[in-house]
Subunit: 398 residues, 2 copies
């Protein structure tokens, strides 16, 4: 930001500007775009060649969203995290079909056109993998590397309740199985109440057909529930009076607890927050910094995000970007006047159920040190060093 | 949709399904994706190869959004309409600068990093070109061809009010000039009240940096106001006590009226609605059809969308997708039981100011037949023929 004197700027009546010495130093070093015609319109747009934000590919089964590069609340579809158990299948929408059977009056096969003929709804909500915490993160960890497995889209589809009424779900049906048509044939059991609450068969994402890695052409969407249960490339739903005890419900996605028991079917993603700026690898300078991040809860709306700039000693309520939507990433912002002293910045989400995002010690007390990496939502923080560099505040888990 | 008998479906305890004869006829003709591993994660995602929705390129200066292919309210950034007067420049963000001068205490040059250091806000709103009506549309016209020059994004940026306070806007400043750095060096005059209301300098679009054709790296965003005044590739703002009377405010974007006078500075885009389904080129069959579309108003929130399925004789209130946001595309849906008789479906938007989208005759009465093609928002309709084909209901303008 350069304050300039009046003599630096000589504006003519025609609107042209002659810049003086001080201003000239700021002039673009590249070719002046005002001096040559730009390119023509394109049928499908692309990002600026200067922009390089990418998902972080983590081996053959997942990739994470670059939260440190994003703004607002919508995740661009091309940067929505991926998690799959058998790769991304290439499903032909013309031959797509969904079978709904089991405890129903009228077992039925639906084509994609059939599904699209039913009344539709749209909603903006987050989707988070329950394994969304890197417990071995060192100082040089970005928000993407720490917790890139949550993203947000505007989803469009048909309420599952509509289809369950269409096929005549029987009163004794209490659960349903959702089965994908990927090479893992991923299956999960879901309580039928969720279908009659807010479950969708989603075929739209951010205005367009959902992306291949998000389950094209149709996925199950269970707002606020762990990503794995939002079965993609959905091909079959079977209604039953009990859960199906699938592989994903036994070997994984079940949480050992400190008291020696295990918690199954812990679907709801509890409230969490993640500071996205300033974080590794940025550096800051003294003065006002707008701390930013996202907070979300599978229980409903975020009601408050507290930010601490003194390693958790004191907390202040951050500003929440309106409108705050239920089960949605909510952007929070908090102004912090950094004096140059080393400190840690942290954030803590509170949702409309009254749930408060726990400290790491509380999580360990409940879950035990030997727990799996699923459903962990501790408060996390970032250390600002005297030289302005920012690193992840690492904390031991074992 | 195929109802199947219980004998068609033999579910085993392991969750595998053996489909009977009726069901087998529905099986995919392509390779079964469940039988082979899918592809690995990608750093940047792509649309399914089966999806072909594109912007309609209309000569060298614009392209339109394919509303007939879209769902929900967010326009994917790669399908956001384009309109430029000198092509799309390629601006290097590292050398980007914005000069604010004129009637200010402290003329200042801001780098992109300077702008990003100020407190930011995000909002979802539409952006519409004021020339968004094809008056010579024939029956074989899609919503994209009729009115593709409106799109919606979640924009992020710094309130212009913040910068005007930073540079010390003088009390006598009543207007400001916004100048782009494209080859047209597009300039527009904007009343300063808009800056202190809700104008943004936007650098984010749908979570990522704004797209090149949307003004990368920084554009002016005037929610609800005609697209042309939302100057892109913004390089200069000059404050003054009067409008600058630029080319775009004289040769174009001024509306001749029926009474022989002309209306200047008609910034606000009045309420409008557009049915997006069913429209040309789809065909429908008898029975329930979910009529869908978008409605928007530069005056604030849409409060009602009336739909007529009998060529305007009777009207019913459509369902509005919640939450309804101010100055935003709002999706409306209305169930219609089509009997097979020829009819015309139309929609009419009402906004919170009480404004009602006018019929074509009213528009012509006010504007005159010789008016320009700017700021026209008549009720439009689609004819469903007895064979189920849907065409645009063309209406003569002269």
């Amino acid at each position: 930001m350069k304050k300039i004197s009046r003599r630096d700027v000589l504006a003519t009546a025609a609107g042209a500007v002659v810049l003086g010495k001080a201003a000239r130093a700021q002039e673009p070093q590249t070719i002046n775009p005002a001096k040559r015609p730009g390119r023509a319109p394109r049928a499908v747009g692309e990002r600026s060649s200067f922009e390089k934000a990418q998902r972080q590919v983590r081996g053959p089964t997942s990739s994470g969203t670059p939260h440190q590069d994003l703004m607002g609340t919508i995740t661009p579809s091309e940067l929505h995290f991926e998690r799959h158990h058998g790769g991304v299948p290439d499903v032909d929408p013309k031959s797509y079909s969904l079978l709904i059977h089991g405890m129903v009056e009228r077992p039925t096969i639906f084509s994609l056109a059939d599904l699209k003929r039913f009344p539709s709804v749209s909603r903006i909500c987050f989707l988070e993998c329950s394994g969304n915490l890197n417990r071995t993160a060192g100082p040089e960890t970005t928000p993407q590397q720490l917790a890139g497995l949550t993203s947000q889209s505007e989803w469009t589809g048909v309420p599952l309740a509509t289809l369950f009424r269409e096929v005549g779900a029987k009163p004794q049906a209490k659960w349903f199985l959702a089965e994908g048509q990927d090479a893992a044939m991923l299956t999960r059991s879901v309580p039928i109440d969720k279908a009659f609450d807010d479950a969708l068969l989603a075929y739209g994402q951010n205005g367009e057909p959902i992306r291949p890695e998000q389950g094209y052409p149709v996925r199950l969407l269970l707002p606020g529930w762990e990503g794995n249960s939002n079965v993609k490339w959905l091909r079959r739903i079977e209604l039953s009076d009990r859960p199906f005890m699938t592989r994903e419900e036994t070997s994984k996605y079940t949480d050992p607890l400190a008291n020696g028991t295990a918690r199954m079917f812990s679907f709801i993603m509890d409230a969490r927050s993640l500071i996205t700026y300033p974080t590794f690898p940025v550096s800051v300078t003294k003065g006002w910094i707008e701390i930013q991040g996202i907070a979300w809860s599978g229980n409903g709306k975020i009601t408050r995000v507290d930010v601490s700039t003194d390693e958790g000693k004191t907390w202040s309520a951050a500003k929440l970007q309106q409108p705050v939507l239920s089960k949605a990433h909510t952007r929070f912002r908090h102004l912090f006047n950094w004096t140059g002293a080393e400190t840690v910045i942290t954030s803590r989400a509170v949702d409309e159920s009254g749930y408060v995002q726990p400290a790491r010690a509380e999580v360990i007390k409940f879950r035990g040190l030997g727990t799996t990496g699923y459903h962990l939502n501790p408060i996390t923080g970032w250390r600002i060093k005297p030289d302005g560099s920012v690193v992840y505040r690492e904390e031991a888990w074992a």
